[in-house]
């Protein structure tokens, strides 16, 4: 539970700091968006693997940055080839986020059921 509490505090802190930072150019917002999706995917993945005690820090850190970079690269390549590759990237990320959220949900449901017993 501590992980979630601390995470939540950091999210709120990030929002507060973010609202006082200058905005970026609209042209680059597409890349930032895809990087955000990649990072969100990594975070949810990390949370889900924590619940299963399979969490590996090196996998998480590498996934966090490498996925974001690859997603941005795909977006740039797609931009140059006039193919919306970023849609595929977003599809994959959202798909995985849903899967991992399902894993987390099952984990907590299992806990509740156990406690009731």
């Amino acid at each position: 539970m501590m992980t979630f509490t601390l995470g939540l505090i950091c999210v709120i802190l990030g929002c507060v700091v973010g609202s006082f930072m200058p905005t970026i150019s609209y042209v680059y917002s597409k890349y930032l968006a895809i990087a955000i999706m990649a990072a969100l995917d990594s975070i949810i993945g990390a949370l889900s693997s924590t619940t299963q005690n399979k969490f590996d820090m090196s996998v998480f850190i590498s996934g966090f940055f490498v996925n974001a970079v690859i997603a941005i690269m795909f977006t740039m390549i797609g931009e140059n080839l006039n193919v919306d590759i970023y849609l595929a990237a977003i599809f994959v990320f959202v798909y995985r986020i849903f899967n991992n959220l399902a894993v987390i949900r099952r984990h907590f449901i299992g806990k509740v059921v156990e406690r009731k017993k």
């Binding site: 501590m2 950091c10 905005t23 975070i43 969490f55 820090m57």
Partner: protein
């Protein structure tokens, strides 16, 4: 108190490097999400407007093409009709007479191209406009641009001086033509025109030019608004035909029948 102690132990035990990194990353992610959201919210309206403009531009281009193709077809058909008329006029005197009347009617209605001596008046937005705007520190676009009323007044003046036919940037002015202001453009016959505007008029060139150049007349008034006016006399100018369908839905001729 037992539970409080438990909590403290729980806290200290649980905060490890994993959680620190997760927290850091949560912070980074929410920071970038907030920045992104603010970027999108501030620039969305501009981007949408731009997108919409581009879409509309494409649409205009498409419709223009359609319009041109249709116009070509009309011209083709009109030529055929003309050929038939000529052919029948040769064989029949009555038809020849009717054709003569029809030609006059077409001339009056503006559905046939006409040529004759005349003048062209070219109005262009002031070249000094930017300098003026910079000097004044603002851009008062109401004063230094050509208005629909300028064109109307010039044509009115020319009509008084006996001009017989008008066109503005190739748009024939007929009895039902409307000239109106649509933002920075002027709409004539439903078509948007932009500066420079060339008014072509058929009539006695000297009379027409004289009427415009009256002291305190329309031209001096327009020139005082820093608009560039060029007037040229021509031995022969051509005014194109009105290229749309003239339709009277409500007005019907009153026919007096002799009994």
């Amino acid at each position: 108190m037992n539970s409080l102690e438990k909590m403290k132990k729980f806290n200290i035990r649980k905060i490890n490097s994993t959680q620190v990194i997760i927290c850091l990353i949560c912070f980074i992610i929410s920071l970038s999400v907030t920045i992104q959201a603010r970027t999108i919210n501030t620039s969305e309206s501009d981007i949408l407007r731009l997108k919409r403009e581009n879409e509309l531009r494409d649409e205009i281009a498409q419709w223009k093409e359609v319009y041109e193709v249709a116009n070509e077809k009309i011209a083709e058909q009109n030529k055929k009709i003309e050929d038939y008329r000529n052919a029948s006029a040769k064989t029949d005197d009555t038809v020849a007479l009717i054709k003569k009347e029809l030609d006059i009617a077409n001339l009056l209605a503006g559905v046939s191209a006409v040529k004759g001596p005349g003048i062209t008046v070219t109005l262009d937005d002031s070249a000094a406009i930017e300098k003026i705007a910079i000097d004044a520190g603002y851009y008062n676009n109401n004063v230094y641009i050509i208005h629909d009323t300028d064109i109307m007044s010039i044509m009115n003046e020319l009509s008084v001086a006996g001009a017989e036919a008008f066109s503005v940037n190739g748009q024939r002015i007929i009895s039902t033509s409307a000239i109106r202001c649509v933002g920075p453009l002027i709409q004539i016959n439903g078509i948007n025109l932009s500066a420079p505007f060339t008014i072509t008029a058929i009539g006695n060139p000297d009379t027409l030019v004289g009427s415009l150049n009256l002291r305190g007349g329309i031209i001096s008034e327009i020139k005082s608004a820093q608009i560039d006016v060029t007037i040229e006399k021509h031995e022969e100018v051509t005014i194109p035909a009105y290229d749309k369908i003239i339709e009277y839905k409500y007005a019907v001729p009153v026919v007096e029948v002799d009994k």
